[in-house]
Amino acid sequence: MAKFKKKTKTSENIPTSALPDIIFMLLFFFMVTTVLRENEILVEQKIPQATQLQKLEKKTLISYLYIGKPKNVAMFGTEPRIQANDVLIGTKDIVLWVNQEKDKLSEAERDQITISMKTDRDVKMGPISDVQFELREADARKLLYAAVGKVQN
């Protein structure tokens, strides 16, 4: 029994003092790279799947419209609504909203504005086509139907 005890005096363990630093570096990396959502989504967002996805390069040119059934049914009803920034707007306000978004961009980039439509999959085409009509009126014709990748078989 005494034989085993002798060993404990010399330090044989691997130095793990640098391990927390490595993990902290990873932690900071994730904390810095992830963007926290700045505005709360008021409508349901079950993004449909698609295969032929394209990525947009310039994120500053993108403005988001969220379309779906309101989460707060008691307050906003069950019909699909449009959310721009952090409020629900009517179809008629889209032109105004697009112009506000365009004002944020520089003169040269104004006609390149892209609207990313994040639409819930349960929405019908009626409201969508109304929105598209308003976007045509506002001359914001580049449109991105937001979708998530589908596993191809």
């Binding site: 005096k9 793990t16 927390p20 999959r121 019908k124 009626g126 009126e137 979708a147």
Partner: protein, 213 residues
């Protein structure tokens, strides 16, 4: 004396520090979603002048690939009922590359295509004349009651047909072609070479008013 007990380890045990950091790391990994701006691009037509009637475009029926979707999400493609969209992209590719009545320009386009795409040219007189401007148009008409999910699925298939043709022309896979950004001249050249002469002619008609909201 109490001191004699501490002789073996004087330093603070920092081994559990890693565990704490791991916990934090896992928390952030799980809770954050990296925002991705991916989707299907679509360019809307310019707005109509209310004082002017929409321009009459004379196109022969054979040059239009009709896709109709009703309020129950049922498909009518070229007058035939379809259950699913599996075959749709293939049919559209056949339609675009039919070369039923090519003029001189489109004959030279045909000769520039790789052999695998040339095989698709059935030269059916009842299908599209040629894939160039004014040749083959894919028309999608929905109803106000059609679900957005279904609409996107069909638009996805139409896009797939075009991207597969483009990719095959430049010898890439469809995924590689779509990942091209056009930032470098070499990439831009590839994109242009894929598209050249075959414009993405997708017409999305205004939905009709029955059965929607």
């Amino acid at each position: 004396m109490a001191k004699s007990k501490n002789r073996l380890s004087q330093e603070v045990n920092a081994g559990s520090m890693a565990d704490i950091a791991f916990l934090l790391l896992i928390f952030f990994l799980v809770t954050t979603t990296i925002a991705s701006d991916k989707g299907i691009l679509n360019i809307l037509p310019p707005k109509q002048d209310p004082n002017q009637p929409p321009p009459e475009i004379k196109l022969n029926e054979r040059n239009i690939f009709n896709i109709l979707v009703n309020a129950n999400d049922q498909l009518l493609v070229e007058g035939e009922y379809l259950d699913n969209t599996d075959k749709l992209a293939d049919d559209i590719k056949d339609f675009i590359l039919n070369f039923g009545a090519p003029d001189e320009e489109s004959i030279s386009l045909y000769n520039s295509l790789p052999a695998s795409l040339r095989e698709r040219a059935k030269r059916d007189p009842n299908s599209s004349d040629h894939p160039m401007t004014g040749g083959a148009v894919v028309s999608i008409k929905t109803n106000r009651g059609t679900s957005y999910d279904r609409y996107l699925e069909i638009l996805d298939q139409v896009k797939r047909a075009y991207f597969e043709i483009y990719a095959e022309r430049v010898g890439l896979t469809s995924d590689q072609y779509r990942a091209l950004t056009g930032k470098t001249p070499a990439e831009k050249e590839l994109i242009d070479r894929g598209k050249e002469g075959i414009p993405m002619a997708i017409s999305i008609a205004e939905p009709d008013k029955i059965g929607g909201n």
